[in-house]
């Protein structure tokens, strides 16, 4: 099959670019640990309120772990618990969340914290809150008529 010389140049350049992108993503994911949220832990969605850590939603200081705080959220139609939280600037936090009913989309607007909450699964993401300010938490997966009313707030304070 004949291919024009310029098309070969273009495809080598194009495929090379794709390879560079994939390498950057792969190194970032597997070497630096920037994987998308994939906790792989399960929970009974009907017993969330009595299962640790979801029996006590909120911010908790922890010792002897790779992170300083654990921030626990429970989602249900159409609210997040807790509704407002303060996090110290520079804290390394593991955000842990799950849902009691349908699928919700846990997103802290303007950050990389963006994870699907699916009934039966726990979602986690570790990050350092290194920019002060007020951040809106919303639901970004349709969950019913009050979907756009689901909110919570994180204040990152000095």
């Amino acid at each position: 099959m004949h291919m024009h010389k310029f098309e070969k140049i273009w495809l080598i350049f194009g495929i090379g670019t794709l390879l560079v992108f994939l390498t950057v993503l792969g190194v970032s994911a597997f070497y630096l640990g920037n994987q998308p949220p994939s906790c792989l832990a399960t929970i009974n969605p009907e017993k969330v309120d009595t299962t640790a850590p979801f029996n006590e939603p909120g911010l908790k200081k922890v010792e002897g772990k790779d992170w300083d705080y654990e921030l626990v959220y429970v989602a249900q139609a159409f609210a997040y618990s807790p509704g407002e939280i303060e996090v110290p600037l520079g804290a390394k936090v593991k955000v842990i969340a799950t849902t009691k009913d349908v699928i919700h989309g846990f997103q802290v607007a303007g950050t990389n914290i963006n994870m699907m909450l699916e009934p039966g699964y726990i979602s986690e993401y570790v990050t350092t809150f290194d920019k002060a300010g007020e951040y809106l938490i919303l639901c970004n997966e349709y969950c019913g008529s009050g979907h756009h009313m689901m909110t919570s707030k994180i204040k990152v304070v000095e």
Binding site: M1, H2, H4, E7, W10, L11, G14, I15, L18, F21, L22, L25, S28, F30, Q35, P36, P37, S38, L40, A41, T42, I43, N44, P45, A77, D101, V102, I103, G105, Q107, A109, G110, T111, N112, N114, M115, M116, E118, P119, G120, Y121, I122, S123, E134, Y135, L136, L138, C139, N140, E141, Y142, C143, G144, S145, G146, H147, H148, M149, T151, K153
Partner: protein
């Protein structure tokens, strides 16, 4: 090629038009729903009579994403096959009609449930939100109908091959066959979740549903779905557009190669829609990210082929310099200009798509309105404008009428208006999405949050764009009705490009379906088997149904 019909047989034409009537009714209904959504999201408008935002959002998605596309594509592929491989046999045509009526019945069933507000679950119907079983049944009929419809195309292809042993099939028939196969392999996933999970569950036969398995089966279907939309546009770009502008097809074999690559690589990539999900191992996600990047390659090839067609044509008309050929293109011909706007929009669309598929980069934009902006460039501009461009000649070709100069001019205005409206709407969606604004959400001030206030100007820009787009839709409907019923009688050409005389014959290996479907199956098994077993072995307790609207 003695089977080439310069004109489609009127009996096949009738079947094609039946599909197009439904498609354009869908455009009218879905377009109106879209306009209302952008108005609601601007915050300046409230829906009357207690109609829910998510109800019209479901209408918009089902009617445009599933109905308009499937009906148009089936109609176009039947037309292309009948034109290049010969008139359908009576049996094949009967299959086409059975498929058409099954799809239509299914559409009416689903539409009724949506209108009764018993199915405000959007067109992705993620469990455990539970719609009325008739909604799922209706969608099943649409899919099954499309299989029967597709059987007409496959049947014609098989009989052509029998009559022309050792010959490569006509290019556009070959492409229609690839897209039909892609569709059948892809829809197995959505058929499986609907038949084995959602229908029994919504009927109350089983109590609980495995949410992750259902989503995974949906997205096994959901990404090839977008290629099923795109490939008919590529057919027009590769085969029809060269003839419209008076050029030759750049390369028959490279066109076939790119279609085969789409068949192979567009299916085992569904995880890139599930990158933010808790129940899938990140290594398997990354594997499917790699496979997703492979499906970029045939689009890179397509870009080159198209530019090369245009440049060769321009130079044959005496163009010189680096970009002189650009001015030689027939800008006054809507059959070229409108799809060309679609091609241009595929450049930012492709760039956005690369971001979406990029593993952890997906965190920045996942489920933000950036994604909506993205597929309004791919589907709602590149694909849809090409479909409009096809209608400008295919509808009069079939109805025995002509595209008049006045209609041609109106069609160009329509395309330009679409481009302007979409620049506003999709541009604002991309920008607001980067700031964090969510998709699929009614107007909300989010308790007065400062971040949400920043999004409102972009939402107003979306409403401006949406309004312009709605005007463009009305123009399109006017043109369609004119071409179907009122335009002057005459002969409108069905343009099918020819390969340049110097080109070599396409190798027969492209028609070796055992080989290609075999590799497709292997890739699917490779990408899905282990994570799927994982999901089932480590499944949490299933979910009961919820009706939260």
């Amino acid at each position: 090629m003695n089977t080439l019909n310069a004109k489609i047989d009127p009996r096949d034409g009738k079947l094609v038009m039946a599909h197009f009537y439904v498609a354009f009714i869908a455009l009218a209904v879905g377009g109106l729903a879209g306009l209302l959504q952008t108005l609601v999201r601007s915050g300046k408008f409230v829906l009357p009579a207690g109609i829910g935002y998510y109800q019209i959002l479901t209408v918009h998605g089902v009617v445009l994403g599933l109905v308009l596309t499937t009906f148009f594509i089936m109609g176009f592929q039947i037309a292309a096959t009948s034109r290049t491989s010969g008139t359908l046999s009576n049996l094949q045509r009967k299959l086409g009609w059975i498929g058409f009526w099954l799809m239509t019945a299914g559409t009416l069933m689903a539409a009724t449930m949506i209108l009764l507000n018993k199915a405000s679950v959007l067109y992705t119907f993620y469990a455990p939100l539970q719609a009325h079983f008739i909604y799922y049944l209706g969608l099943t009929l649409v899919v099954v109908g499309s299989w029967v419809d597709g059987a007409a195309v496959l049947g014609k292809y098989i009989s052509w091959r029998k009559q022309n042993p050792g010959q490569p099939s006509p290019l556009i028939t070959f492409m229609a066959v690839v897209n039909t196969m892609l569709w059948i392999v892809a829809t197995i996933g959505v058929a499986a979740t609907v038949l084995f999970q959602l229908l029994p569950w919504s009927l109350g036969i089983v109590d609980r549903v495995d949410v992750l398995v259902s989503r995974t089966l949906f997205w096994y279907f959901g990404h090839p779905l977008v290629y099923f939309w795109l490939l008919p546009a590529y057919m027009a770009w590769y085969v029809v557009i060269p003839k419209v502008i008076g050029a030759k097809i750049f390369s028959d074999s490279l066109a076939r190669l790119s279609f085969i690559l789409f068949l192979l690589f567009s299916i085992p990539v569904g995880f890139h829609h599930q990158l933010m999900e808790p129940g899938i191992d990140p290594a398997w996600k990354f594997l499917q990210v790699i496979l997703t990047f492979l499906v970029v390659i045939p689009s890179l090839m397509t870009a080159f082929s198209l530019f090369a067609t245009f440049e060769s044509y321009g130079r044959s008309k005496g163009a010189t310099g680096l970009f002189g050929w650009f001015k030689k293109l027939p800008w006054g011909d809507a059959r070229f200009t409108v799809p060309f706007i679609g091609m241009l929009s595929f450049i930012p669309a492709g760039a956005g798509g690369l971001v979406n598929a990029s593993h952890q980069l997906n965190q920045v934009i996942h489920n933000t309105i950036w994604v909506t902006g993205h597929f309004h460039l791919t589907l709602a501009t590149a694909v849809v404008l090409t479909f409009f461009g096809i209608s400008y000649w295919l509808v009069p070709h079939v109805t025995g009428r002509v595209l008049t100069k006045a209609m041609n001019k109106l069609a160009i205005y329509q395309g330009v208006l679409w481009a302007i409206g979409m620049t506003f709407m999709s541009g604002a969606m991309h920008a607001a999405g980067l700031l964090g604004a969510p998709r699929r959400s009614s107007f909300s001030e989010y308790g007065g949050a400062a971040q949400a206030t920043e999004w409102i100007p972009y939402q107003i820009a979306q409403a401006v764009g949406g309004t312009i787009l709605f005007v463009a839709i009305i123009l399109m409907l006017y043109i369609f009705v004119n071409l179907a019923f009122f335009a002057p009688k005459g002969e409108e050409e069905f343009p099918i490009g020819e390969v340049s005389d110097k080109a070599e014959k396409s190798p027969m290996v492209f028609e070796n379906w055992k080989l290609w479907l075999g590799i497709t199956a292997l890739l699917i098994l490779f990408a899905y088997t282990i994570p799927f077993i994982d999901m089932i072995q480590n499944a949490p307790i299933g979910s009961k149904g919820y009706k939260l609207w």
